[in-house]
């Protein structure tokens, strides 16, 4: 993964802006880059599918017996064995399983007998919403605090942000969730302590249910982002081009927006991409605290019930999300950093 310290911004062409051969080369180059990244992502996903498949094979003893549990009848064990196709040679099992995945068939749950893909699709919305909102919280708080700290190095703001970030990184998100519930739901009954409602039940109700979980989930990432943003802003401030901009009469918001943030954004975007995996993991526990039945509780229950097709589906789904987000980050990277775009 390339991380460059310098570079990066948004080029917004003026209305009625010129189209030229020059742009064309950029377009083809970035198309090639996209394809290369896409290929890399697909390779990783394929390898994840192998590891996921091997999960069942690695269960100590006879997987079917372990899955069925101690009190299972012989028929039940046999049913599980056929359901998972455990009788066939391993390679054949994998090929069957993998061709199913390619058709979007992740198998059926061993407990509900419902399709894994459908179950995941049903459980996903709350998790997606909370994770997305957590990213929003992280970006708004983390980037703002980081910029403030970076621009005022050595000030009380800077010190306060650094201290808060150090603390935020050390704090488990589910504990933070409990503390938030304590303060904002139990001691002061301002917000609901548990549950999730769909946005169709009304924006206000929805927001009141989403705000605590996504804050709890997002603050650690905010702390991480604040640290990085501060470092990037501090670094950009020492660059000669900032001095040049000041020599041209740029200052204040103009200077910060056009010269400092554009350049500081590049490493920050990378860090944000790396943090999405962490957020997906954190969501499992935060959902548990708030009693939200999303992917997290699905995952926990599946592990406790040893519902392997479900676990496999969940792992694959997570990997797809992470790979997709990294791809988006890569593209965003090329988009904001002209050096990458044409390199």
């Amino acid at each position: 993964m390339w991380i460059e310290v310098v570079g990066g911004s948004r080029h917004v062409p003026a209305p009625g802006s010129f189209v030229s051969a020059h742009r064309w080369t950029e377009v083809t180059v970035s198309a090639r880059m996209v394809l290369r990244r896409l290929g890399g992502g697909l390779l990783v996903l394929w390898l994840v599918s192998i590891l996921t498949f091997l999960l069942v094979q690695l269960i100590p003893g006879d997987p079917a017996e372990v899955i069925a549990g101690e009190n299972a009848t012989v028929e039940e064990v046999a049913r599980i064995r056929t359901e998972l196709g455990l009788g066939q040679p391993v390679l054949e099992q994998y090929l069957n399983w993998f061709s199913g995945i390619l058709r979007g068939d992740l198998g059926d749950s061993l407990f509900t007998n419902r399709s894994v893909a459908t179950t995941i699709a049903e459980a996903a919305p709350p998790t997606v919403v909370i994770t997305t909102m957590a990213i929003l919280v992280a970006v708004v708080i983390g980037v703002t605090a980081g910029i403030a700290a970076g621009l005022t190095q050595g000030s009380w703001i800077d010190r306060a942000v650094s201290a808060a970030a150090t603390l935020g990184i050390a704090m488990p998100s589910f504990w933070l969730a409990m503390v938030l519930v304590s303060v904002f739901a139990l001691t002061n009954p301002w917000l609901p302590a548990t549950g999730y409602v769909d946005v169709r039940s009304g924006f206000g109700v929805w927001l009141s249910h989403v705000i605590l979980p996504s804050t709890a989930l997002g603050l650690a990432t905010a702390a991480e982002l604040a640290r990085h943003t501060r470092g990037c802003v501090a670094d950009v401030l020492t660059r000669p081009y900032v001095r040049t901009a000041r020599a041209r009469g740029a200052s204040g918001v103009w200077l910060i927006r056009r010269h400092i943030l554009r350049n500081a954004a590049i490493p920050v975007v990378t860090v944000l991409g790396l943090q999405t995996g962490r957020l997906l993991g954190g969501a499992i526990v935060v959902e548990a605290v708030f009693g939200i039945s999303g992917l997290g509780s699905l995952a926990i229950n599946s592990v406790l019930q040893r519902d392997y097709p479900m676990i496999q589906g969940y792992v694959l789904f997570s990997a797809v999300v992470v790979v997709a987000i990294n791809l988006i980050v890569d593209l965003a990277y090329g988009w904001i950093n002209p050096k990458v775009r044409t390199a």
């Binding site: 994840v48 999960l55 150090t166 488990p172 470092g231 995996g277 926990i300």
Partner: protein, 289 residues
């Protein structure tokens, strides 16, 4: 990704690093705190004010008092004593996880960094694959195979740590392997194993130590998370994470009960992070990106 990049051959002497750690107030306090935890983990029963298992159902959720410094829990057990008892897991669980991570990541990383070749290619690919999964998701999947329980959970966390450690070790080894002293050791017939352990390992100790210290904190958080969702420590054993779980179950009755074990955990992670960052600064490594 640049995880701890290295100027290893100029690595300063351990004694110098230790002295500079103890001279800074933050890292000295952090080291003191971890030392206290280790002491409590070993000598806990001798110093704990009450028996951590004794129930007193007439005295549930007692507030802070001189008899119960941190109050009592849902069975009337002394919270302070239970926190002291749980330090054992707070120290041992991260050690298991990091130990497993090192067991896998260290030899592979050393070999891959020195010899490259197929080991490097395969292990590197595998590392990329595992790192593409969210850490907790990966750990969950492994626990699903191994079954719940503290040791299994920490094994799983250790396996998830191994690709990161592999990368750090491999990167550091790569840069050390370019040094002439490695060539001269090989020239006088040092075996690969000897080259790795005697010549390279001491020179990559600094970045490795930084990574290990920080992973101790991460492992503690992972233990707490897994115990909280019921896949880690099983009752009647108690860790700070499982204490948080029962505090959570009783949050309506006693909102304060989430505080003590949570603070203990935050302070411990903070201490590990501070030590890690201080070692990094003391040996002059670049910050994490």
């Amino acid at each position: 990704m640049t995880t701890a990049t290295i100027s290893t051959t100029v690595s300063k002497r351990p004694r110098h690093v230790a002295r500079s750690l103890l001279r800074r107030p933050a890292s000295a306090a952090a080291i003191g705190f971890v030392a206290l935890l280790v002491f409590l983990a070993i000598a806990g029963p001798l110093v704990s004010p009450h028996d951590p298992e004794t129930q007193d159902l007439g005295n549930r959720f007692a507030g802070l008092s001189s008899t119960h410094l941190l109050g009592t829990d849902e069975f009337g057990r002394d919270v302070a004593s239970r926190i002291i008892q749980a330090t054992r897991i707070a120290i041992v669980a991260p050690l298991i996880a990091v130990g497993v991570g090192l067991l896998i990541g260290l030899p592979l990383g050393l070999w891959a960094g020195l010899r490259r070749g197929a080991v490097d290619a395969i292990a590197g690919r595998l590392a990329d694959t595992i790192l593409s999964l969210p850490a907790l998701v990966g750990a969950l999947a492994i626990v699903a195979v191994l079954g719940p329980g503290l040791v299994n959970a920490m094994l799983a966390v250790g396996i998830i740590f191994s690709p990161g450690l592999f990368r750090v070790v491999r990167g550091a080894t790569l840069s050390v392997a370019e040094e002439t002293f490695v060539d001269s050791a090989e020239a006088i017939g040092s075996s690969t194993r000897r080259t790795l352990w005697v010549h390279i390992l001491p020179n990559i100790a600094a970045p490795l130590l930084v990574q290990v210290t920080i992973l101790m904190g991460v492992a503690l958080l992972a233990e707490a998370s897994l115990s909280f969702i019921g896949l880690g420590v099983q009752p009647p054993d108690a860790s700070w994470g499982s204490m948080l779980k029962s505090a959570y179950n009783n949050q309506f009755e006693s909102p304060f009960s989430v505080v003590p074990s949570g603070i203990a955990m935050v302070l411990t992670v903070l201490a590990f992070n501070t030590i890690g960052d201080s070692i990094r600064d003391a040996v002059g490594l670049r910050r994490r990106t």
